[in-house]
Amino acid sequence: MKGHDKYIVLSLLLIPLLFGSCDKLDEPELNNNFTGGTDYTQTQDMLLSLIGVYDAHNDTGWELPLLIGVRGDDVNAAGDQAVYQDTDQYKYDSNNWMYNSVWKAYYDDIVVSNTAIENIDKYIAEADDSGKKQGEQYKAEIKIMRAMDHYFLAKTWGRVFILDTSDLSTLAEIQTLPTREEVMQFVSDQMDEAIPALPKIRPNQREDLPGAYTAYTAYAVKALANQELENYQAVADATGEIIKSGLFDLYPDFYELFKTPGKLSDESLMELQYSDYGQGSGEREAHLYAPYGPSSWTPAVSDASSGWGFYEPSLKYIHFMLDRGETTRLLTSVLFTPDGIAEIQQTPGYETLPDFVSNTTPDGDVINNNVRALFSSGKHYLPSNQLIPGRTDYGSNKNYIMIRYAEILLMYAEALTRGATGVGLTADQAVNLVRARADMPPLSGVTTQDVLDEKFAELAMEWGVRFYDMIRVDNYQELSYQGRSFNADMELLPYPQQQIDELPVLSK
């Protein structure tokens, strides 16, 4: 090569440099975030946003229902969790991780809901009339779930934020929080807004999304909120709408209601749905039921996993049920250990127990002793022989019922005993419908106390119904049991320390 070749080589090397790749900088960074280009004219896609909210609400941490329910006299904290047991003893600690976790879980669901509503609004802007109507229905369903979140937050903490936007930037500026009553009124008003947009069918009649919520779910939530407000006429009106629709029926077999055959029954108004999709392996939607399960058992089907033994029906509840001569409901609600049966018998008058009080369940699972829990919750138990072969997790494929028709009937009945006007069905009739399914003889002339007792028997271990009933009627004596002493200061949990750190308004 000669000297001037140098410049030829050099220029050849420089050409691609000069005509280089500057334009690459204008290409968008390629990554796996795909929303930038959501096409809101594809209005049928708004369904996806709705399903996303259902998923968020189904996706519940195990500690949430336990914390909501544990303070009642129907159930005790068992197992090895000290902060959880302290809560059961009404000793509250703002550092308790469960408080913070549950608080965040509810608000996270609320933000997911709000974002979905804002998204659906964008589809609605592009939609034709039927699309708009569809969108309004989806928004109404989301409002039901969002209302339930607010309902539980207010029940647990009293004054809480009402959040109907995904924009959290203004929260820090809030000077006063709405009261518990204002939140309940918000819940009720939201349901009034939602009801006209919703189909007037049972959730299990939904063909698009079986089990998704309907107008009657909204009425149920409205009734719950008004019950907290002690606005009993509104309770009677809302529950009356459900009753007079004639669509709902109590599932005949109380035991199976909480198991696979009872999934999405005609009794169900709000049900968290989980599924193994009929397969022994592979994808599943699941709730962690292990905290409810007995720590030690000999399952009828081997390999079925035991649980953690955290949720123990109280001796008080069992005695109460035995006193009433309950069979089906006691059998369904409680799993007995041999030690637990012995413990029941310790109390004079209970030496002889009916045969069904046994540590072998009707499905043949044998519950073994564990020193930390005498009993386990039967409503959260799925017999090992109902597990799909291949699945071993405790309660796999089991749904979690949140609101059922029996509670509606009893709320209606209580409202009537408090002077509200009904829709034809009497309080006696409503209560006796519930009792008949449980093989209990009919009552007549039911009083408010009768209804509260009936709720105790029927709805024990379910979503803190009992605890909040007792708070509502200020019956602290019932909550002062087995060494506990309850007073008005113990109704609400303290705000989680981490939330106080982040939102100073909570320290006021």
Binding site: K6, L13, L25, N33, T35, T115, L209, S295
Partner: protein, 995 residues
């Protein structure tokens, strides 16, 4: 073909006219001939090397300048005159000041530097028997913190001058290997490395602009030398790794005593159950006949082996270096946990003409890594000693009769062996690093154009296998599971630079201008199969042999980014006295909304010892003051956070799967973080240049720091560019080198550095919480990042009188043996308002020192290091709040409060179970100070004409670590010790052969 090429080259060489043959002898100042000295015609690549007797011969023209050089000697230039014999005597180089330091897209002489650069040479890197080159740097460079990761094949955490980025995972330096950019260099074989240069300050690193905010580590791989006869080297070692400082746990007797002291019915029942199931101890009938030391069960001694073969050399126009390396290391964890790597390497440079040089280097690395089930360490910490490994009574357990503590009544199965026996995590990592360049001397010795193309192609094939088993209780895996994940990384860089180098009288100038284009891509695909015929062995480990493909576990991800940069540098010195330095880089990227960032730096130096007024003496041979300022960017943060991203979710309606979308409204665009740094330094050589001193003070501010800002009410946080973080400190490095005689030389070195980390601003907020509220870490303006935040323990209540006297104790129903907390706001209540900063995970000082002795055929070296001022959150002890069914460590047992006066800092046995005591408090925060003998090597070189030069050596790596922390290892990168892999001591025997 090759011969033709050579002939052609020869022809070009000969075609010049007026040449004569110059011969001569090159010797040292003692008149001893220097074999292998380089003789080069200045401005060309024509040259030769002296033979064994120091003789050389080459063709040159009158007027040509011959450059004579030899390692450790001052370079000398002689102009060819009429005399055809030129003998030269080279003087011993004053110091390493003449050494050439790699500075990024070029080199500089050490004495001309204005910034803080530390260089570590091959021989220091090779001393450490480890797979990862950076491990060898621990304790050797002031201001560099290396935190080991004990698991084979895992990279250590590397921090240069502290933590500048809020997200500690993004605080690692940029590695530049032969021009290519890497986040991690664990594919490199340490013995292929010629030098590692740590560019510590912003001024040194700024030429790398946006990638440089956390410092830059430049790595040169070994190349050949022109006119050097072939050199063959074999290096090999093999040895054992032994776990060090294994935490002592309570044995059965101690555990049972602790349980008895709690008085808890359930826990005592479990002890009785163990006695019933496993029998009574003959020594003590109150104990079960089991005493399992779980760490002892899961730890094994592990083998480490390395073989390295390299050849290098060069002729007149070509030089080469090729090598093969095999490395294997077992992990300490008793499962399939090992790392194996096979590397091929070549490096070739070729002078095509007197103005064109081309070359290329390639590293092909092929590694397989079996990752540990790291949570086994944690399980072993918690497992109770009264559970045996095997339990023949556990008939449910299939295929191995592992004991299950649920059979004793405990909530979980505890036995870590299910993790060890029924899982296998394999990564097959293949890495190709290719680098090709052409260099054109446009004006010989003055103006050079260089174009270099660098490609790093990496594939990681992951195969995670889970075998079915049953242990009874709730520990069951019915189906075999198989996860396959393939990731491909392809990073390309094309650099073009123009370098101009000239002297005008006393003015010396080097100018550099360049452009760089970057293309980085990442792709990943994964799937999970359930129920494959695992009994058929590896040939069945394929997804399509599975019964089911888990749709939820299918993953697909990718990313592609481009970057374009322009940069320049000016290095000027006047008479070697006044130094000026500046670089500028404009970085463009398609990653951020803000496409361009500009990163300048300036530096200046003053070599006092060159001034006429400076007294000439043997005490101070060289003295330089230097200062610099620079600005850097960090694009290691994502382009946005949260995003209006949608994720696909599935949920069930009526037992049918439906897909939906969850949209996150939380979104922010992020910009690059910007770091600004001032560095003031002093370099000196004292006492006949035997002592070198480097002193640096730095102040580094990260602006626009990307900080996760918690969103109120909801779990997630959103990262925003809102913070300002300052790191400042000083670094001193002293090295004393003395050649006493031909037989004896020694060197002693030490370094010390301090670091003060402080948050200057958090976008107007006073503090930001980090991590779970149970173990709160909080960043507060004026404090360090992620400080541990909790209650201050002032003692332990000793007796009832003390309880009665304290209203706080009465209100909270405390008993003797519970903690006393400081009521900081003195309101008579202990609550969140009484929390305070309990310490930081960032060490405030680091030090290291080393000694090297050479006597006749013997060589000895010792290196030690330490750090202090940091705290560790002993998270393992914090587990009791979630699971009290666990063992306790022996330190706790021995020191627990068990009666008045027994302890004023540890709670009682029952106290350990009380929520009051496990609020985060100073009990859980421990000192992280440690001192370690890092490496001791003793070698003997056999010098015998009949056999090649052979050195045999023994090494003890990390044989001794002294610390007070209750864990395996005080090296916890983020100070949050949930489970660390122990760092082993390594004892090896090695041999180096060279001919």
């Amino acid at each position: 073909m090759k011969n033709h090429l050579l002939t052609l080259l020869l022809f070009f060489c000969l075609s010049a006219f007026g040449q004569q043959t110059i011969t001569g002898v090159v010797s040292d100042d003692q008149n001893m001939p220097l074999p292998g000295a380089s003789v080069l015609i200045k401005g060309t690549t024509t040259g030769t090397q002296t033979d064994f007797n120091g003789n050389y011969s080459l063709e040159a023209n009158q007027g040509d300048t011959l450059v004579f050089s030899y390692v450790g000697m001052e370079t000398q230039e002689v102009v060819v005159g009429s005399n055809s014999t030129i003998n030269v005597q080279l003087a011993i180089s004053a110091s390493e000041l003449e050494e050439v330091v790699v500075v990024g897209y070029g080199t500089q002489k050490s004495k001309d530097l204005t910034s803080a650069i530390s260089t570590v040479q091959a021989e220091d890197i090779e001393k450490t028997p480890a797979a990862q080159p950076m491990q060898a740097l621990q304790g050797k460079v002031a201001g560099l913190q290396i935190v080991n990761n004990g698991s084979p094949g895992e990279s250590p955490t590397v921090r240069i001058r502290g933590v500048g980025s809020y997200n500690t995972g993004e605080s690692g330096p940029l590695y530049v290997v032969d021009g290519g950019f890497y986040d991690d260099i664990n594919f490199l074989n340490p013995s292929d490395i010629k030098t590692i240069s740590v560019l510590k300050d912003a001024s040194a690193a700024a030429i790398y602009g946006v990638r440089a905010a956390n410092g830059v580590v430049l790595i040169e791989t070994k190349g050949g030398t022109f006119n050097q006869k072939p050199e063959f080297r074999y290096d090999g070692y093999t040895g054992y790794q032994i776990a060090q400082n294994v935490v002592k746990m309570a044995n059965t007797q101690q555990f049972v005593q602790y349980i008895n002291e709690t008085g808890l019915a359930a826990d005592n029942q479990f002890v009785d159950n163990a006695i019933a199931r496993y029998g009574r101890s003959r020594l003590d009938p109150n104990l079960p006949d089991v005493n399992t030391d779980w760490y002892d069960e899961i730890i094994r001694p592990a083998v480490i082996t390395n073989h390295n073969i390299a050849m290098s050399g060069g002729g007149e126009n070509a030089k080469y270096s090729i090598g093969v390396n095999y490395f294997s290391q077992e992990g300490l964890l008793n499962m399939k946990n090992e790392y194996e790597r096979f590397n091929l390497r070549s490096n070739i440079d070729f002078n095509v003409t007197d103005w064109l040089t081309v070359g290329g280097s390639m590293v092909l690395s092929n590694a397989s890594k079996y990752r540990p089930e790291a949570s086994a360490w944690r399980k072993a910490y918690y497992a109770v000693p009264l559970l045996p490994v095997h339990d023949p009574l556990n008939t449910e357990a299939v295929p191995i009769d592992y004991a299950n503590s649920q059979d004793l009544g405990y909530r979980s199965s505890q036995n870590p062996f299910s993790l060890l026996s029924f899982s296998e995590n394999k990564d097959k990592i293949r890495n190709v690093m290719a680098n090709f360049y052409a260099e054109i001397a446009i004006i010989p010795d003055r103006l050079t154009f260089r174009t270099a193309y660098n490609h790093n192609f990496e594939t990681i094939e992951t195969r995670e296998v889970r075998f079915p088993y049953t242990m009874g209780g709730n520990e069951v895996r019915v189906n075999s599971e198989l996860v396959k994940r393939n990731a491909t990384i392809s990073n390309q860089i094309w650099d073009n630079t123009l370098t101009y180098d000239n002297s005008f009288g006393k003015h010396n100038v080097t100018l550099l201008a360049g452009a760089s284009f970057r293309d980085e891509s990442f792709e990943m695909l994964q799937a999970k199969g359930i129920g494959f015929p695992y009994n058929n062995g590896e040939q069945a480990y394929y997804l399509d042999q599975s019964q089911t493909i888990d749709v939820d576990a299918v993953g697909d991800d990718g990313r592609r980014e481009y970057g374009l940069s322009y940069f320049g540098r000016i290095a000027y010195n006047f008479d070697g006295r006044y130094l000026l330095y500046g670089t500028f880089r404009a970085d463009g990227t398609n990653k951020y909304q803000e496409k361009w960032g500009y990163f300048p730096t300036v530096g200046a130096g003053w070599v006092l010892s060159e001034e006429s007024f400076f007294p000439q003496s043997d005490v101070v041979n060289f003295l330089k003051l230097r200062g610099s300022w620079g600005k850097l960017g960090n694009d290691n943060v994502a382009s946005s956070d949260g995003a209006f991203t949608s994720s696909v979710v599935t949920t069930a309606f009526g037992d049918v799967m439906y897909s939906g979308i969850q949209t996150s409204s939380a979104f922010t665009y992020l910009r690059w973080e910007v770091t600004e740094e001032y560095n003031l330094g002093l370099s000196a050589r004292l006492f006949d240049s035997n002592l070198s001193v480097e002193f640096d003070y730095f102040r580094r501010d990260t602006k626009d720091a990307v900080i996760p800002v918690a969103r109120p009410l909801v779990p997630e946080s959103l990262r925003q560019n809102v913070g300002q973080i300052r790191n400042q400190g000083f670094e001193v490095a002293l090295n004393w080198n003395k050649v006493v005689s031909d037989d004896f030389s020694y060197s002693i070195g030490g370094n010390f550095s301090t670091l003060d980390n402080e948050i200057l601003d958090l976008g107007g907020q006073q503090y930001l919480n980090f991590g779970s509220s149970d173990f709160q870490r909080r960043s507060i303006v004026g404090e360090t990042l992620f400080a541990f935040y909790g209650l201050e323990t002032t003692g332990v209540y000793q007796n009832d009188a003390e309880i009665q006297a304290d209203p706080i104790a009465v209100d909270n129903a405390l008993v003797p043996g519970d903690f006393k907390f400081k009521d900081r706001n003195q309101d008579g209540v202990i609550n969140g308002d009484d929390r305070t900063v309990l310490g930081s995970f960032i060490p405030t000082f680091n030090y290291g020192f080393n000694v090297n002795l050479n006597y006749k055929n013997w060589d000895f070296s010792l290196a030690a290091l330490g750090q202090g001022g940091n705290k560790i959150l002993n998270r393992k002890r914090g587990e009791y709040r979630y699971t009290p069914d666990t063992n306790i460590d022996r330190d706790f047992f021995i020191n627990r409060w068990h009666g008045e006066g027994t302890s004023n800092s540890y709670p009682s046995s029952l106290g350990l179970r009380k929520p009051w005591n496990y609020q985060l408090n100073s009990f859980y925060i421990e000192d992280g100070d440690f001192f370690r003998i890092q490496n001791i090597t003793l070698g003997y070189t056999i010098k015998n004409d009949k056999i090649p030069q052979t050195r045999v050596y023994v090494t003890a790596e990390k044989p001794l670590t002294v610390f007070s922390y209750n864990g395996f290892n005080p090296e916890v990168a983020d100070g949050f010790d949930n489970q660390t892999y122990p760092v082993p001591a390594v004892y090896t025997l090695g041999v180096n052969i060279k001919f």
